[in-house]
Symmetry: C2
Subunit: 285 residues, 2 copies
């Protein structure tokens, strides 16, 4: 299902992700308007030719006249926006998002929207360690995953349009998961890895270590530069699943520690062999 | 202190690291001979022009006639070799190595060598997730750390020659640590990170995860493809220090888990801020 080039697209929240969406959509020949909190972001985006129009106001005409509205906000701000302004959206409008957790957001947003406005959630699994529209680039979508997380309230047409949006943006893999499965996966693949990176950085206070790091340490801690407002919010919204993943991981690390302390070479090697086999699967992709 | 171009150099053990040394030294204009266990490695290295001569035999004339001998063997094979063949080395010979742990190796080797043969230990902090001379490349040395770990038995001349070897090989940073400090650093920066990568791969058995991984997970588990024979040996030789690092890291991760379970946003953010600040130092290097 193609998205017509005259589709009236509105991005709410022009940060790193909203800006990257704007760049990709404009390049693909769409006209993109935006609502965001800082005039400076709009000025930058206009100068860069990423958007055709932007406002810091909650303009009922602009919002009511949009057909595809993409929310690129922190989860609590997204929920707040829908609560306060959701009634401004017109029937027939398709709403989507970029939020990194789904269960805590999807049902609530779907319940708050007016009749005829459909919310189809998506998670673009892409990002950078820097923030703001000035750092936006659609290059982050190439090679990355885009996950649509429909509920039973979604129509096949909305799901297809949302997937097509992922393709237009330039994502390499488009897939579909339930909000619950998505949150389980993201707890392991993304949130746990960020917790590990942070714990690595806080567990050793030796400043001279920086002189001796190899690639492995750099790789493991690249994501230790972390936006504390966004990630603490995402962690808390997925608290139960993330705690379970931390516990499972800690159990495995403790198993390695026990084998090591006991001098149990065979068991250590067995864990390493399983690790090597599983990791090899990732290289084929 | 320059290493004369007619220095008689012998590499013992022609695997990934020995092979990479051979390539770099040959490119730099040195003649490199080698002793290794498989004739096929020698055939490959001769064909590639990486060495001028190789043998699978313990040839007393070759060994006794060498002036700089580089051991690129697993730690226990290195110790075994010195125990059995150390007497073949001639007075005035300089011996060095590539071993990833130091305390468990350096004193023992220095004690076993004949009078007049000096062992100056070094750790080239470079590697790949693949093995064998066929995968050797001196590109791994660029941007990497080379650490010399002298003891009070070493002469200033040997330390300087060893550092010069690191420069000839193409390492970007040459530094000096005691064997004890080296092992403490390596337990955190390299061994702990490998334990974490392995525990991450064994802690979740969901095969479809590979479809949803972002860069962060790939980065954290790149080193999960691990040579179990080498790494289990290195872990055990540094057991006490590695157990201490695992415990310190686990404590920090548990701290994050507690803040998360308690919904303590402020404390979570505090850990993330410290992490971000510390990690930023690494980017400046």
């Amino acid at each position: 299902m193609m998205i017509p080039k005259d589709k009236k697209i509105l991005i709410v929240g022009l940060g790193l992700m909203g800006g990257s969406y704007a760049r990709a959509l404009t390049k693909a020949g769409y006209e993109v308007k935006c609502v965001t909190k800082d005039q400076s972001s709009i000025d930058y985006a206009l100068k860069e030719g990423m958007i055709s129009y932007g406002t810091t106001e909650t303009d009922p005409v602009l919002i009511g006249g949009s057909e595809l509205v993409i929310f690129a906000l922190y989860p609590h701000i997204f929920l707040e926006w829908i609560r306060e302004n959701g009634h401004l959206l017109s029937p027939g409008t398709l709403v989507t998002d970029v939020t990194g957790v789904k269960s805590a957001v999807v049902d609530e947003v779907q319940a708050m929207l007016p009749e005829g406005v459909e919310f189809i959630a998506a998670h673009p699994m892409a990002g950078r360690e820097v923030y703001g529209v000035e750092n936006s680039t659609d290059a982050i979508f190439r090679g990355a995953n885009y996950i649509v997380t429909p509920t039973e309230k979604n129509t096949p047409e909305a799901i297809e349009t949302c997937k097509e949006l992922g393709r237009v943006l330039g994502f390499s893999r488009i897939s579909e998961l339930t909000p619950d499965k998505h949150d389980e996966m993201i707890a392991f693949v993304s949130q746990l890895t960020h917790c590990i990176a942070v714990a690595l950085m806080t567990s050793n206070t030796e400043p001279h270590l920086v002189d001796y790091t190899g690639d492995s340490f750099r790789d493991l801690t690249r994501i230790a530069r972390i936006n504390e407002d966004m990630w603490s919010e995402l962690f808390l919204l997925n608290r139960k699943k993330l705690v379970a993943e931390i516990d499972a991981f800690t159990g495995e690390l403790h198993r390695m520690r026990t084998y090591l302390a006991d001098g149990n070479t065979e068991k250590m090697k067995e864990m390493m062999r399983i690790s090597t086999e599983r990791r090899a699967l990732f290289d084929k992709k």
